[in-house]
């Protein structure tokens, strides 16, 4: 086991999958010699050549559209969109084709591709570089939407995403890229898409979170524990779509209280679906209204104000206390 940042862990996943399977090819802007603007594809071009680590023109639609063609052909393309804020320029390729090809052709043509994109705030970036709009993809039938929360699960999930027979949108929290290091085994490891993880055990309430928000959520849980002796169970969704609800429902059945945390804007956000699933599955176990701690219904502000927009440890802990006082 070696300690890795999320960037290094993702690089490991790509490298090992490419070593194993020559149908895995990467395409994106600046992913070759430059190694990607966040260095996720660093040195892969040295090992696999520019045939498999393809620097593309500035053309998001072409990147994803070509990947659709490549995937139909039988390759397993992994696209990098430099920032998720630019992926709207390829939205139609995913919505119109990637998501539909299997369904459209009744299973005859499939699109086993991955679109990787950094998302989320917290790194003092400029406009279009900080948003959290996973719900666009989560709301698109036919796509899978995955957001890891740390180096180890990022690697394991990316491996699964590459091997997945369907198109997977893989969001990587910029704020986590180098935030911390974790032991990541050199030997192969994957984590199934569509499974949530219990990141922390507890009996008093359930906090549901994912991606970059997992860390502040865990910190808040820690604070509740040390200050008030409250034991929060923290669920890390990992896959936003298809959303696995049994883990969170079972947890809420046990605790009776829930807080949902995400960086994305609140209205019609992932929390709306998560809360509904909890109501469907655990209504009679609830002892307090479910709280949502999310980004506000705004364009994420320029970074001088970003801290106030992104859910903080304090906001999460306060919401947790509110549910407990109810």
């Amino acid at each position: 086991m070696a300690k890795m940042t999320m960037v290094e862990a993702l690089n490991l996943a790509l490298r090992q999958e490419m070593e194993k399977d020559d149908s895995v090819v990467l395409l994106g802007q600046d992913i070759g010699l430059d190694g990607g603007v966040f260095r996720v594809t660093d040195h892969l071009v040295d090992q696999f050549g520019s045939d498999r680590v393809v620097d593309t023109p500035l053309a998001e639609s072409a990147i994803v559209g070509m990947a659709v063609g490549m995937a139909i052909y039988g390759l397993k393309p992994v696209c990098e969109i430099q920032f998720s804020g630019f992926s709207y320029q390829n939205f139609h390729q995913l919505e119109n084709h990637a998501a539909r090809m299997r369904w459209r052709t009744r299973g005859r043509l499939t699109v086993p591709m991955v679109m990787r994109a950094p998302y989320g705030g917290g790194v003092r970036a400029l406009e279009h570089h900080a948003e959290s709009r996973e719900v666009y993809w989560a709301h698109t039938p036919g796509l899978k939407m995955v957001i890891p929360s740390g180096p180890r699960n990022a690697r394991a999930l990316l491996v699964s995403a590459i091997r997945d027979p369907d198109p997977v949108i893989f969001y990587e929290a910029k704020a986590l890229y180098r935030a911390f290091r974790e032991e990541v085994p050199e030997e192969e490891e994957s984590f199934p898409i569509g499974k949530a993880n219990i990141a922390r055990k507890g009996d008093d309430l359930t906090i549901i979170s994912y991606g970059a928000m997992l860390r502040p959520t865990l910190e808040a849980a820690e604070e509740l524990q040390t200050k008030e002796g409250i034991e929060a169970e923290v669920i890390d969704l990992l896959t936003i779509s298809p959303l696995e609800d049994s883990t969170m429902v079972e947890s809420v059945k046990k605790t009776g209280r829930a807080v949902v945390v995400h960086e994305a804007p609140r209205s019609f956000g992932p929390g709306a679906e998560i809360v509904t699933r909890l109501l469907e599955g655990a209504f009679y176990y609830l002892e307090a209204p479910i709280e949502r701690v999310t980004g506000f219904d705004l364009i994420i502000p320029y970074f001088s104000r970003e801290k106030s927009y992104i859910p903080s440890v304090q906001r999460i802990a306060t919401a947790a206390r509110r549910t407990l006082n109810n």
Binding site: V123, R178, A179
Partner: protein, 476 residues
């Protein structure tokens, strides 16, 4: 990175990857902490490995070969004049450094330590901002400041690359072998580097503002070295100060001042080795709770803790003897304290070595200290002219002295001047740390003929009955 500031979190941030820094980082990683080490150098080792101890000892070894070859003449073997290939010498030195540095990189990697190349500046007690690195900020639970020290400059004389006025690091890059070299400063760096250049053929003049060399070392230990150097060097001037210096195309004009007399001299190159100052400025320490003393050293306690709860300091920047092995131990202590282990810097004997020919080494109490602090002691000296082994090597201008407690004979300090003093001092350090008596040293059988016998013989003098010299007439 094209966009955004990447922030990283860790348990322990070590700033500086010298022997103190990597000592701390390695120990902390072994104790299960997540460690990041930041340094402007991409490979660990710090000044010691890259610009100090290791390159200087590489060259001193070559100097010793040359001197030994010369000395062999009187023993019946003559060598022709050595041919010097400066480029090859530099390459050899770099090879030595590379091999050690790469080893350290591997050790760090296998321990899971992240080495970040860059310069850190504190924004608070728990966060630094980095320049020159992929990561913009590091947030940590604990920080160890191991930024070391840098050479003092003469007032009005700034070091620069390509200058004829050199600091020790540029002297070690061995730009050429100047015809004439002025060494300013009679401390161990000036003596060691002066010896290298003199042996390689430079006319070395040394100026020292004090009345003697190595002011902090007992005078009797320095005496044989001073004698030898006065033959090796062209000139050693005491109580002389550099009044001004002017560099031009062909050399450096130096005006030397003694009392009120001023003498003008010209040298091809000048080496300034007047001491070192802590690297505590420009670290952003004003944004932390760390306090510095009036010389700029970071104030610490025996657990290496600064006055800031989150920060520790080790090595040169924390004051005390500016020695790599002291820094390493301090680093280990800091790491242990951070990991929750009861640890303390409680060394009783920090050995020090001057790599001149002959070498000087000492540890524990010195006579200077004993006198200054009025500590009762007795001293025994065993001159090396009675050592068979020293005779065989033609290296008899040395001695071993033992400072002991007058009452119970416990060993308080040891000083050695002579060939291979570096290897002999560790026995003394162990003896002091273990609380050994002179008797213990005397009764420990030392192999014959070796230089280590001189330590046992000195102890036997204390006991009243040495073998290879006559017993003292009465006890001191």
């Amino acid at each position: 990175m094209v966009m955004g500031d990447m922030e990283m979190n860790t348990d322990l941030l070590v700033i500086g990857s010298g022997p103190g820094g990597y000592g701390a980082a390695f120990r902390a990683a072994d104790l299960g902490l997540d460690v990041i080490m930041v340094d402007p150098f991409s490979r660990p080792g710090g000044n010691c490995l890259h610009k100090g101890c290791i390159p200087s000892k590489t060259f001193l070894h070559l100097a010793e070969l040359i001197l030994d070859a010369q000395n062999a003449k009187k023993m019946g073997i003559s060598f022709s004049k050595p041919k010097l290939d400066v480029t090859a010498m530099r390459a050899w030195k770099n090879q030595v450094i590379d091999s050690i540095a790469d080893g350290l990189v591997t050790l760090a990697k296998r321990r899971g330590i992240l080495i970040v190349k860059g310069t850190a500046r504190f924004e608070s007690s728990k966060r630094v901002r980095l320049s020159g690195a992929d990561i913009s900020r590091i947030r940590f639970k604990h920080g160890i400041i191991a930024t070391g020290s840098k050479p003092l400059e003469l007032p009005g004389v700034a070091f620069s690359k390509e200058s004829r006025i050199m600091d020790p690091a540029s002297a070690l890059s061995l730009p050429d072998i100047p015809k004439s070299l002025l060494v300013v400063g009679g401390g161990y760096v000036g003596l060691e580097l002066g010896s290298v250049y003199a042996t390689l053929g430079s006319q070395v003049t040394l100026v020292e503002s004090d009345a003697r060399l190595l002011a902090q070392v007992d005078a009797d230990l320095v005496q044989p070295v001073q004698q030898r150097l006065s033959r090796l060097f062209a000139d050693i001037l005491f109580e002389v100060q550099v009044d001004s210096m002017h560099e031009h195309d062909t050399g450096v004009d130096v005006s030397l001042k003694q009392d009120s007399k001023i003498e003008q001299r010209c040298f091809d190159r000048v080496l300034i080795a007047i001491g070192r100052q802590p690297n505590s400025g420009n670290l952003g320490l004003e944004n932390t709770g760390v306090t510095l003393n009036n010389q700029g050293f970071i104030m610490i306690n025996n657990q290496q803790q600064t006055s800031d709860d989150h920060l520790f300091a080790i090595g040169d920047v924390a004051g005390g003897l500016m020695l790599a092995h002291k820094a390493t131990r301090e680093g280990r202590v800091a790491a242990e304290v951070i990991a929750g282990i009861t640890s303390s810097f409680d060394a009783r004997a920090i050995p020090a070595v001057v790599y001149t020919d002959p070498q000087i080494s000492w540890c524990g109490l010195t006579e200077q200290q004993a006198t200054a602090e009025d500590i009762p002691y007795t001293v025994q000296r065993f001159p090396w002219k009675y050592s068979g082994r020293a005779q065989t090597m033609g290296m008899t201008d040395g001695f071993t002295k033992l400072l002991t407690d007058r009452q119970d004979g416990r060993i308080l300090g040891v000083g050695i001047t002579g060939r291979n003093a570096e290897g002999l001092i560790s026995e003394a350090a162990l003896a002091i740390e273990m609380g050994a008596l002179a008797e213990d040293l005397a009764l420990t059988i030392h192999p014959h003929p070796t230089l280590s016998e001189t330590e046992a013989e000195a102890a036997e003098i204390f006991q009243g009955s040495p073998t290879h010299t006559m017993p003292p007439k009465s006890s001191t």
